[in-house]
């Protein structure tokens, strides 16, 4: 097991390097000279040259990559180009609000989706099952924007059940006042695709031979679903959730933007709007690192749940 972990950690190195190269290429060549963006419209050659020197982009590429690597390791990406705040502080302070939304959402959504998927899997092929699936498809087809716009208008603006937007200082206040509607909307949006996906995982398992064996043993349908099928289906479910986790951190950006929640997602949008490269770069790098480690963790859990996986 330890050898496996070391091995996987070693495999991470080239991927990390790839991410660094990709981002370096993206921010230093694809987007043109960052100095012009930073300098703004009114600048002369001297100012530009000055900024180029400050940013280090007048030095050879390998030195610049070195600087980039150093930034990643030390976590010091300098200051934001637009607000002047330290990038590391921006990220740290935005993490809390994002997680306040994310963690309860993830928990409720997964639990609900699995329970519903099992229920639907039990009546697979019936009219109810087909209707639920068609409803899911229709639900998934409506833009997330429409959900947010309509529900914010209806529940917050017209009915006044929730605050239209905002964010407080205490966790309690945030969780029970400001986060409620965002979580509710995210839940409505996220449930349909998850239900559909988990149902397909369950159905894949139900058609397996071992389920036939369990039936031949005369076990109850309930036990077959909750013990045999769920234990097998939980493997792709866990892998899916783990892999999707870091993406969710950013994925909530629409919610965060509409409800003015100072989270990571909203920060990304703001940074993109302001061409604030250091912030985007830093967030991208750290989310990528988080993704890589989440995948590693997913593999380890996978290993723990599934005795078939051989450690290679």
């Amino acid at each position: 097991m330890i050898i496996y972990i070391i091995r996987r950690l070693l495999q991470i190195i080239p991927i990390m390097l790839g991410v660094v190269l990709l981002l370096f290429f993206l921010f230093n060549w694809v987007g043109g000279d960052p100095a012009y963006i930073l300098a703004g419209k009114f600048s002369n050659e001297e100012q530009i040259a000055n900024i180029r020197h400050q940013l280090g982009i007048d030095r050879p590429a390998y030195v610049q990559i070195g600087i980039f690597l150093e930034q990643i390791v030390t976590g010091d990406f300098g200051n934001s180009w637009s607000t002047g705040e330290r990038v590391s502080e921006i990220i740290l302070s935005r993490l809390g609000p994002s997680l306040t939304i994310l963690l309860p959402l993830l928990f409720i959504e997964t639990l609900l989706a699995i329970t519903l998927a099992l229920a639907v899997a039990r009546i697979r092929g019936s009219l109810t099952d087909r209707m639920i699936m068609i409803f899911c498809t229709i639900g998934m087809s409506i833009s997330i924007l429409v959900y947010i716009i309509v529900f914010q208008y209806l529940f917050a603006y017209r009915l006044g059940w929730f605050p239209v937007q905002g964010w407080g200082n205490s966790l309690r206040e945030n969780l029970f006042t400001y986060a409620m509607l965002p979580i509710l909307i995210s839940l409505m949006v996220g449930l349909a695709p998850n239900l559909r996906l988990f149902r397909s995982f369950m159905l894949d398992e139900i058609s397996q031979d071992y389920v036939r064996t369990a039936r031949a043993k005369g076990l109850s349908e309930k036990r077959i679903l909750w013990i045999h099928v769920l234990r097998n289906a939980s493997i792709p479910i866990i892998t899916y959730i783990m892999a999707a986790l870091p993406g969710l951190l950013v994925g909530a950006f629409l919610i965060e933007r509409f409800f003015s929640i100072p989270g990571i997602g909203r920060e990304v949008i703001l940074a993109v709007e302001r061409s604030d490269f250091p912030v985007i770069k830093a967030i991208t790098v750290y989310v990528a690192i988080a993704t890589i480690f989440a995948n590693l963790l997913a593999d380890l859990i996978y290993k723990a749940v599934d005795p078939r996986v051989e450690l290679k």
């Binding site: 064996t213 031949a216 036990r223 234990r231 078939r308």
Partner: protein, 564 residues
């Protein structure tokens, strides 16, 4: 219906609903009885309805598409179990009757320990306490002959071999102390030597537990070793039923007779196998009394010589280490023109890898092969191309060996044009059509897609495709293993005819000693990558030198002959 009748199946018919088509009738009005403490076998080829019958008895047919007429009855303890509620039937499953399946690997839950899967039955079906269930579980694993049963309880199915998994399945079925054990092709996925052990185990357990066994199989000879009575089915109907000795010694039905004689045996050397049409008279087919063309030259020139072929695969282990898994170890042999060399071995013996390595579809780790006096392993791909025309292969799985998106014609013409066997497309089509006739197929096959053909027909097409380039050597990798007995005989006859007509050398890879005995001049026995024995077919079969060969020969099911 006599006093010792356990089950009585009366006028059972089963149909499956199909979309936009008439229902498919899988079983058509069959009646038979299963007596107490007997082993009843249902024998039939694919599509005979034997497995469907078994699933109907245990109640595992998919309810949505299954249609069973009300006149059908399955009587057990004076109740028609087709008319009782699903809940009651569920209670009977795993208590009154249990079932084991063909594929033990997929039939066990991969993420649950073997122990828990057995304990589950004891606790939920027989209401054992946790500790008692564990005790009994260990006893059961011991009884089915698993080494170290206590530790085995903690193993996952993936950690066991196929034979061990099937033993676990049997232990699980026994946990219920069923009155009837249904075994659906329980040994088909296993090697012959393992098959023999499982059959012996089933016999022993049947006697000890006072239960009946319903044994479903395609293999009449195997059934002869275990069954008290036999039901022969074909196309959903019963052709004949009777005591085993009567079925074997005095079969009344033509089809039964055909099944008995289509299989090659290791006791005689026919030039040709009887085929099913000979018995059923379904098609009048006159075949001239075939006399094998005597090969004048007893020692024809050498076509293929393999010298110490060694092939291994690598796996990563630990941090950097690679370790080697040898698949083929220093195999040497010689194949002469117009002759057949059989390569026999169980799964994992490396026989298929050897075949692929000879064709350079796998790269040999070491060793040399000369084909028609030319060393072929040292050639570049470009230099080797002409040899690809001269050495061809036919694979085991007829369903995967033809490109599903190509018409048969496309599949046949491609190699002809690639190797410029024909000067133009028109001639190529003519040649392809000739080859189709030669393997016994009509010309309209040319325009069809593979999915419209049966396994036997596909194997003929695959054979025609290999022959289009007029090879000198044909490697036949288990070409008849996936086919029904009656079709096997036809293909084997065809292979003999083709060899006689064209003087092709065969390298015949098989796990089936009887088939090898029928077709081959020489044989090599392989085990775990090594050749344990090589030589003339008669000598080896009559007087095996190695214990392993002897063991293989002893494992061949021989029907009631083994009782005698």
């Amino acid at each position: 219906m006599t006093a010792d009748t356990l089950f009585f199946i009366e006028h059972l018919s089963i149909a499956f609903r199909r979309r936009q088509r008439n229902p498919f009738i899988a079983v058509n009005d069959i009646s038979f009885a299963i007596r107490e403490n007997e082993t009843l076998a249902i024998v039939g080829e694919s599509g005979s309805g034997k497995s469907v019958t078994a699933l109907a008895i245990i109640g595992l047919l998919p309810n949505i598409v299954t249609q069973i007429p009300v006149s059908s009855r399955i009587m057990y303890h004076e109740r028609n179990i087709l008319s009782i509620s699903e809940n009651e039937r569920r209670k009977m499953r795993g208590a009154d009757f249990a079932m084991i399946f063909q594929e033990p690997m997929t039939s066990l839950n991969p993420v649950m320990t073997v122990g828990n899967q057995i304990i589950e039955v004891l606790r939920f079906k027989r209401h054992f306490s946790r500790t008692a269930a564990r005790q009994r579980c260990i006893q059961l694993l011991d009884e089915v002959g698993l080494p170290d049963p206590e530790r085995t309880t903690t193993h996952f199915p993936g950690q066991l071999s196929g034979g061990q998994q099937q033993r676990v399945m049997i232990a699980m079925a026994l946990a219920c102390e069923p009155r009837l054990l249904i075994a659906d092709e329980p040994t088909t996925a296993l090697d012959v030597t393992v098959q023999k052990q499982i059959i012996a185990l089933l016999k022993k357990l049947k006697a000890r537990h006072q239960m009946s066994i319903l044994f479903i199989s395609h293999d009449l000879a195997l059934v002869g070793e275990i069954a008290d009575r036999i039901v022969v089915m074909r196309h959903g109907s019963i052709r004949e039923q009777g005591d085993t000795s009567q079925i074997f010694l005095n079969p009344q039905d033509h089809y039964t007779r055909a099944l008995l004689q289509c299989r090659p045996t290791i006791d005689d050397f026919p030039n040709r196998l009887p085929v099913i049409e000979d018995f059923l008279g379904e098609r009048s087919r006159v075949h001239s009394d075939i006399v094998k063309k005597t090969i004048e030259n007893r020692n024809p020139p050498i076509l293929l010589h393999a010298d110490k072929i060694y092939k291994s695969f690598f796996r990563h282990d630990g941090l950097w280490r690679k370790y080697e898994i040898p698949a083929v170890k220093n195999i040497s042999f010689t194949l002469r023109r117009g002759q057949t060399l059989g390569i026999v071995g169980e799964s994992g013996s490396g026989k298929t890898t050897l075949g692929l390595t000879l064709l350079r579809l796998r790269r040999a780790t070491q060793g040399n092969v000369t084909f028609d006096r030319q060393a072929i392993f040292s050639l570049s791909d470009q230099e080797f191309l002409p040899f690809r025309r001269r050495m061809q292969i036919v694979f085991q799985n007829p369903y995967a060996s033809l490109n599903p998106r190509f018409t048969v014609g496309q599949s046949l013409i491609e190699p002809i044009l690639l190797h410029r066997v024909a000067p133009d497309r028109k001639t190529a089509i003519e040649q392809a059509l000739d080859w189709l006739s030669r393997v016994g197929l009509s010309h309209d096959v040319f325009y069809k897609f593979p999915h419209e053909f049966s396994g036997g027909q596909r194997q003929r097409i695959a054979l025609a495709r290999a022959l289009t380039v007029r090879p000198d050597l044909l490697i036949l990798d288990e070409p008849v293993s996936a086919l029904d007995v009656s079709v096997q005989a036809q293909i084997l006859n065809l292979l003999k005819d083709i060899q006689d007509d064209f003087g092709i050398s065969y390298l015949f890879i098989s796990h089936d000693l009887a088939v090898v005995h029928f077709l081959c001049d020489n044989v090599m026995v392989m085990r775990q990558g090594e050749a344990t024995e090589i030589g003339n077919i008669r000598e080896i079969f009559q007087n095996p030198k190695s214990d392993y060969t002897q063991q293989l020969l002893d494992s061949i099911p021989r029907g009631i002959l083994s009782h005698a």
